[in-house]
């Protein structure tokens, strides 16, 4: 059943019937790590991915072409609410790791302790998690940039230093050529690391294969109904299934399969508001993001930088075009930055019968909205401290801010309902733990099911307050290791 090592690492799904001991749905940070560990332990692993395999470097980062080829719905996805929150999800081999910023943070020890105690996660030992984190950081080459950081990153450092705010360079999972610069990195995403590793151990990867539902009888799932690359139906028979489709599509698939209890009710995100800032000198790096993050007010509020190609600068200026658009004349001097908050709000993911995609909603709390106001004000102050000539906050009819005296006007006129609120971190729709509110057990086994597991961002108990990929990978590996200890490969 296991393919020879010489088979291509990925093939479009074309056969009406596949069999696998372990089916892994999704090939991102959770799915790829699970595949590698289980294949190396001798399991027969089949990974299915809804999107296509896109070679790194074949599309420009953060471009519309990348949105077309590697994001779900061309990058236009929204959690409805007041305000609605725009979000993005990767939909390609490697998932979000192919398209995100590549910034890495370990799960903080206090976060692990809080999750262990609040959600009753069994055997969650920070020391063991950090052994796993060491392995991950070696496997994906977590490192700081060689030499000087980019100009947009230096802005964050300069502003924070001027205000004596805590800031640091966030390492990235990148390799740099000898003598390379900050912009010469090669991201070590899943298509470069864990997916090839899984394939070397015999795992197969089918691309362009969308799973519609799982066939469930009693406490077991046996088959996946899929849509193949040509749109025709197919079926995959398995012994165990790991659902790793991300925080939106993992719960949606489970719900379509008839599993609804506590699933999809606890979506957590890091909402962000943004601004554009213009400086005296050219600073824009169109296809990369700053590596510095300002953590003075963390975990409630964090500041960082966004991709800033001209289209995204225009987008950031669109909320008060009449007042802001002159900045586009010199977009090379403009960059986009964000303030992210740790939200106490909650969202829901609901599969709707007859519709392909789920309904996603999110409600910010009054405290969240206040944090967004506070975050945007402080981010504006940070930009001025870094030497910005003008700051353009992204909300309807926002003022141009030229001095700290103008920030009072911003604070008066801001309302979250007028702002462009976005997120790229979604999680916690199938939280793990032994607490009654958790939808899966401490190691990802879906409640009431013998052979259905979740192992992606949906399993995180709540929003971690830091870039979540490191946490997702660490938990995915921990859970896969436990699975290997308790299950034996057939054959």
């Amino acid at each position: 059943m296991t393919g020879p090592a010489s088979t291509p690492i990925h093939t479009p799904a074309t056969e009406a019937r596949y069999d696998a001991e372990i089916l892994i749905i999704g090939s991102g940070a959770g799915g790829a790590t699970t595949a590698a560990l289980l294949a190396e332990a001798g399991f027969d692993v089949l990974v299915v991915e809804e999107g296509d395999w896109v070679e790194q470097g074949s599309v420009v980062s953060f471009s519309l072409e990348q949105m077309d080829r590697q994001y779900r719905s061309g990058g236009v996805t929204v959690a409805l609410g007041l305000p609605s929150i725009a979000y993005t999800e990767g939909r390609c081999a490697g998932g979000g790791t192919e398209v995100n910023s590549g910034l890495y943070r370990r799960p903080p020890a206090e976060l692990l302790e809080r999750w262990r105690s609040q959600y009753h996660i069994r055997d969650l030992d920070p020391d063991e998690m950090y052994v796993i984190a060491d392995e991950i950081e070696s496997a994906i080459n977590v490192t700081t940039v060689p030499g000087a950081v980019s100009a947009p990153s230096a802005v964050l450092r300069r502003g924070a230093d001027a205000l004596a705010w805590q800031n640091s360079e966030s390492p990235r999972w990148m390799t740099y050529p000898p003598g390379g610069s900050a912009s010469s990195g090669q991201r070590q995403s899943m298509t470069r690391t864990y997916l090839p590793r899984a394939q070397r151990a015999g795992a197969r990867l089918l691309t362009q294969c969308r799973v519609r539902k799982l066939s469930i009888s009693g406490t077991s799932a046996s088959d996946a109904d899929v849509v193949l690359a040509d749109g025709s139906p197919g079926r995959i028979h398995f012994r165990h299934v790991f659902v790793c489709g991300g925080a939106i599509h993992t719960p949606a698939l489970l719900q379509r399969s008839g599993l609804r209890e506590r699933i999809g009710d606890t979506l957590a995100v890091h909402p962000t508001v943004k601004l554009a800032a213009r400086f005296a000198e050219p600073i824009n790096i169109p296809d990369d993001v700053p590596v510095h993050q300002v953590k003075e007010f963390a975990p409630e509020i964090s500041f960082g930088g966004s991709a800033s190609h001209p289209g995204l600068v225009a987008l950031a200026l669109a909320d008060n075009w009449g007042e802001f658009s002159h900045a586009l004349h010199e977009w090379e001097r403009v960059c986009v930055y964000y303030a992210a908050i740790t939200s106490e709000g909650k969202g829901r993911v609901k599969a709707i019968p007859g519709l392909r995609d789920p309904l996603v909603t999110y409600n910010l709390t009054a405290r969240d909205k206040q944090l967004l106001r506070s975050g945007l004000s402080r981010l504006t102050l940070l930009m001025l401290a870094a030497g910005a000539d003008e700051v353009y906050p992204s909300y309807h009819n926002a003022p141009v801010v030229r001095s700290s005296a103008d920030i009072a006007s911003l604070q008066r006129s801001f309302a979250a309902t007028k702002a462009t609120v976005m997120t790229v971190h979604l999680c916690s729709t199938v939280p793990i733990g032994e607490h009654p509110r958790c939808a899966a057990g401490s190691f990802g086994q879906v409640r009431g099911m013998r052979n259905v597991w979740v192992n992606d961002a949906s399993m995180l108990p709540d929003a971690p307050g830091v870039n979540p990929q490191g946490s997702v990978m660490a938990f995915a590996i921990r859970n896969a290791q436990r699975f290997i200890e308790t299950e034996r490969p057939h054959g």
Binding site: S63, L64, R72, S73, G74, V76, T77, V78, L80, L82, S84, H309, P310, G311, L312, V313, A314, L315, A318, D319, W321, S325, H326, L328, H329, W331, I352, L355, R356, D357, P358, L359, V360, H396, T417, K418, T420
Partner: protein, 113 residues
């Protein structure tokens, strides 16, 4: 409605919004940008696409009505609930496309000098 193309519903409004926001944009560019917007709306997740169509349908009638210019200008400049989200989405898609395709476009939509 989920399977219906957005072309007939969204394109006329996108054209009108671009004429108001970016009067310097050429007719050909406006058409290209509107087509891109329609394509992206067609790719929206099903629930969102239905929601957009529900808002776009009455807007389409307004756009087609004679003498509606002032009303449309007012609608696209005020962030009303739901309708404002639709306006923001169309504008966001259009602006991102324009300045990615033609980065030196002037703020009124005219070609770089």
């Amino acid at each position: 409605m989920a399977g219906q193309s957005s072309r007939g519903l969204v394109r006329p409004f996108a054209q009108r919004l671009l004429r108001a926001d970016l009067p310097g944009l050429s007719e050909q560019q406006r058409g290209e940008v509107s087509d891109f917007t329609v394509q992206r709306v067609d790719e929206l997740p099903s629930v969102l696409r239905i929601g957009v169509h529900l808002i776009a349908a009455p807007m389409r009638i307004v756009v087609a009505s004679p003498g509606s210019d002032r009303l449309i200008l007012w609608l696209i400049r005020h962030p009303l609930p739901l309708l404002g989200e639709y306006v923001r989405m169309v504008r966001s898609l259009a602006y991102t496309y324009i300045w990615e395709q033609w980065p030196n476009t002037q703020p009124d939509g005219s070609a770089a000098q």
